[in-house]
Symmetry: C2
Subunit: 221 residues, 2 copies
């Protein structure tokens, strides 16, 4: 499969969608939209041949992903040494109920990015990444909260993964059954799924006189 | 850190929670509850030193995880040869808004399982795994849908990962700020997050006379 869309990332051998290739996408617009809707990524790395997969917060800034962690964590101790990573972001959109068990599926959108993550050293770039993490999830929160001081910035580990080897894979729409199964008297369709915020829970130690900010009461993803 | 809870899995060096060790858990009850609430896992494996992380459906049956895929996929071609895997399940429960940017966090529950996944050969065991995938997500659906035939079972790839090296990590509750920050006039608390089902969307090719089943209209996770 070759990409035919403009503004695309050449599908390298390692990121080409092999299985159900019609579900693959390589254009930055599609890929970045998925990345910007997600907030947790799963970072894969290997130590002595054993893969590890760790969930962590992330944000896209331009043509790179920043992801979050601590210099103390097993993951970052190794990734900072230059171990290759895979960063995967998955959005689950619905359960697909086909007439046959075999054709049951999920509607989803996912992005897989491969490459070498680089430990961010500069405090200014770390600050930019923290700003992106916060503002991505809660626009407006950054300026309300107490800003990071130098000690905190030094204690924060941030990694940058350039988005060079990356692809998306998606499934959307109704079930797809084998032709003879359409005649069966079985309900078929999709149960949509969404990530829904609840009413904000004020910290018991938070002065009741401080109003709940709009980005918390009207939180939308 | 040593485990002190009964019914626990000895925290092997590789699955011990190192960073913020108070968030680690090793008892099967906690671990299995997280696994049973999740429906998508992220499977990590390595090829030629490059890690890959792929989302896929899974279900726990007893002391093992079954996960789903196709014999045609890059993942299973390799995993079936006995490459070690890491299966990670993450539930995101809320955004934690601290007074300082630095202490912002997520409430989450996650499980990391390491080991060698084994390709399931027997049709009976495959059927058991498919039953678990379906009934876990939609109790009652299995008997309504058209059952898998032998050809479909043969075309389904299922892997089994015994839950021997496994641990959970969680964050719950309100923000934790540095002592001096509690005096700041900044709202702090948690925005809960949940995975919410929407109204079922009937397949356009589905006879309107077929009633929508209760497990779809009253879907709850």
């Amino acid at each position: 499969m070759r990409c035919t869309v403009p503004e695309t990332i050449p599908p390298a051998e390692r990121t080409r969608v092999v299985r159900e290739s019609h579900r693959g996408a390589y254009d930055r617009e599609t890929i970045y939209k998925i990345l910007d809707e997600g907030f947790v990524c799963h970072v894969g790395f290997s130590i002595d041949g054993q893969p590890y997969v760790i969930p962590t917060l992330f944000a896209r800034v331009g043509d790179a992903i920043y992801f979050h962690g601590s210099a103390a964590s097993r993951m970052l101790r190794n990734v900072s040494d230059g171990i290759p990573v895979c960063v995967t972001v998955t959005l689950t959109d619905g359960f697909v109920l086909a007439r046959s068990v075999f054709n049951h599926s999920m509607n989803y959108r996912s992005v897989v990015a491969l490459g070498k993550a680089i430990l961010v050293d500069g405090l200014e770039e770390k600050l930019k990444a923290l700003h992106a993490f916060t503002e991505k999830i809660l626009p407006g929160r950054w300026s309300d909260a107490r800003q990071p001081n130098e000690k905190e910035l030094k204690a924060t580990s941030v990694l940058r993964l350039p988005l060079t080897e990356v692809s998306a894979k998606m499934r959307m729409g109704p079930p797809e059954d084998d032709a003879p199964d359409y005649a069966l008297p079985i309900w078929a369709g999709v149960i949509p799924l969404s990530h829904t915020p609840g009413a904000p829970i004020r910290d018991e130690k938070c002065d009741p006189a401080i109003p709940t900010p709009a980005y918390a009461t009207h939180y939308k993803r």
